[in-house]
Amino acid sequence: MSILVGKDTRVLIQGLGKTGQFHTDKAIAYGTQMVGAVHPSRNGAVAHFEGETDHSGVPGRDDTYSADLPVFATVKQAVAETGANASVVYVPPPFAADAIMEAAAAGLDLVVAITEGVPVADMIKAKRYLADKPTRLIGPNCPGVITPGECKIGIMPGYIHERGRIGVISRSGTLTYEAVYQLTLNGLGQTTAVGIGGDPVNGTSFVDMLRMFEDDPETEGVIMIGEIGGTAEEEAAEFVASEMTKPVAGFIAGTTAPAGKRMGHAGAIVSGGKGTAAAKIEAMRAAGVVMAETPTDMGEAMARALD
């Protein structure tokens, strides 16, 4: 087991631009079942991908891949033809929220929005649209979701991951890689790693993911990586204290961030004295989360939490 994605996840790509094509290629090389693409004006085209797989040389696995993805005009058509149950969104910011709603309208279980820079007002509307639908949205402005060895949706480098025991949840991209790599090096590995994104309005919260990892029999512990801004980490701490039986480790970035300044991510800002790293660290500690002192210590903090 794992969460959100696995061997049976059939993925569409929305937004077949340069970035989308690049990462589709990487996803196929990793072994993800990419089944089709959606592009409003390239209906009927075929997108071809080929190359050496990530597991080239591994006995019993293919050394190379060659895939032809059919391109559809709408997500509904793509779902009808391919049986897709998930999509990944690389659509440019002005159109990304619409792409997310289209995916939900087509009945997909999971939409992973990588796009950075989606207007907040668009996300407020998209989130309301998704409220009464079963579709789960991850992101936007996130690295994606990966279940090592089975399915990689997003922009994370596949090779730093190793299938294992830990669920990873993070608001950041490269800082997630840092945590994942440490878990790979210390042998704990990951069940699934989820980047929930750095925007102020996103589809999935820490609490949503903690709940899924708590219910996943393969996951033995969870590491959550937060940052300044908002109160999502405080809400997660409450959930950890009241509902989690599995050990949780954590790290919060932005202890040294000045108030009132947006630290790269749209959602990473301390305003009106709210959203400070100190308040989040305190809430998480109080909830029994084992906190990493530095980002180099994340893997070890997880190991300590498991002891």
Partner: protein
């Protein structure tokens, strides 16, 4: 993006949201010339002269060059002396304010230079209230926040007397409903025409927030005039940068003189840079990792000089610009490059660093930590360059090395 009070009021006036009459001026002469028409149009001999900077607390703020002079001045000379007396006073004060540095609780000790002043009609105030439209991240919706405690710092009100803050969540498909506006009016103790004036005001404000993609509209104080009309005495607006592409008129209001020149240059190069007070320059890929790098430097006893995220797909040119920006800061005594290559390949970054150092020159220690995609190639490029670079194995190791070297 932030704009000035006078610009926010222009945008409100264009949407039939009541604001006092006023004129912006960049010279003392222009400020004085604004006085007579304002007095004639409004019928009020009192005018107000307000410094325009992108920071709050102006009313209590004072000028570095003119201790005792405030950022907001009520000019009452016109009551007895007529418009000429008001003009003379405005000319005198505006001459002092323009070009001087205003220090408020929000500017920090270094203050902000005043390049524009706003001359506004006086208003007879019966009550001062607080009103704002902003995102509530916990519910992923905009909310209207209102309070009877106008003119106060709202954070303080929220902390000390939270029951005095009223809030209404806005359904994005409906907007602020009539009943919600009415509930707010009742909660603020309004009735009759004042309540009607308020509900019109707050509904128009909600529409403005949606139409303009604001991140925040804050009216503090919102006033009830002696004749019972609701009016914005102050106005603060900040916009969602990601939505500016659909508001070229708003984007044109940007006042670059209010922004840090280095941060502006970085933005133009597609980099995220924020100047800090320390001595160790940082160059990192990814916002979360960049913050964590600063934190780690501090953790081992150093002080970061900046936040700098080169993003996921930086090219050689961007890396060079990033180096230029960091080395231009005279406070920088050492540089720490921390890259976890995912999409960003370490060999590309390494090539960029080598080119940048050769271009820009380097007079301070440089520690480089590379990890991730093509890390061996990246390390090889740096080794072969012959540059005086200290290699680090981890984020912590790199932070310790640079702090030691500085």
């Amino acid at each position: 993006m932030k704009i000035h009070e006078y610009q926010a009021k222009e945008l409100m006036a264009a949407r039939a949201i009541p604001v006092p009459l006023g004129r912006m001026a960049t010279t003392a002469d222009d400020a004085a010339a604004a006085v007579r028409p304002l007095i004639e149009e409004s019928g009020n001999p009192v005018v107000v002269l307000k410094a325009q900077i992108h920071a709050g607390g102006r009313g209590k703020g004072t000028f570095e060059e003119h201790p005792g002079l405030r950022g907001v001045n009520v000019i009452v000379e016109g009551i007895e002396g007529g418009p000429e007396a008001a003009e003379a006073k405005v000319a005198d004060l505006a001459a002092k304010m323009l070009g001087s540095t205003l220090v408020t609780v929000q500017t920090g000790a270094e203050g902000k230079v005043v390049n524009r002043v706003y001359v506004e009609q006086g208003v007879d105030i019966a009550r001062e209230l607080y009103l704002a439209v902003l995102l509530d991240r916990a519910v992923s919706r905009n909310i209207v926040m209102a309070s009877t405690e106008g003119g106060m710092e709202i954070e303080k009100v929220a902390e000390e007397t939270p029951e005095k803050i009223l809030r209404q969540e806005i359904d994005p498909a409906i907007g602020l409903a009539d009943f919600q506006a009415h509930e707010l009016a009742v909660g603020l103790g309004m009735e009759g025409d004042t309540a009607k004036s308020f509900t019109r005001f707050v509904k128009a404000l909600d529409r403005a927030a949606t139409d303009l993609d604001t991140e925040l509209i804050e009216i503090n104080p919102l006033v009830v005039t002696s004749s019972g009309l609701v009016m914005a005495l102050d106005g603060k607006m900040a916009f969602d940068d990601n939505a500016l592409f659909r508001h070229p008129d708003v984007a044109a209001m940007r006042d670059e003189s209010e922004e840090d020149p280095a941060e502006l240059a970085a933005k133009e190069a597609g980099l995220n840079y924020i100047k800090l007070d320390g001595t160790i320059g940082c160059l990192v890929n990814g916002a979360g990792l960049a913050m964590a790098t600063m934190d780690t430097i501090k953790h081992v006893g150093g002080e970061p000089a900046n936040f700098l995220d080169v993003g996921g797909g930086a090219d050689e040119g961007q890396v060079t610009t990033a180096f230029q920006i960091i080395t231009k800061d005279p406070a920088v005594e050492g540089i720490f490059v921390n890259i976890f290559g995912g999409i960003m390949r370490c060999d590309v970054i390494a090539t960029g660093i080598v080119a940048a150092v050769k271009n820009v020159g380097l007079s301070v220690p440089l520690v480089v930590r590379l990890e991730g995609t093509n890390v061996e190639k990246g390390k090889e490029i740096i080794r072969q360059s012959g540059l005086d670079v200290v290699a680090a194995d981890s984020l912590l190791d790199g932070a310790e090395k640079i702090v030691e070297l500085v």
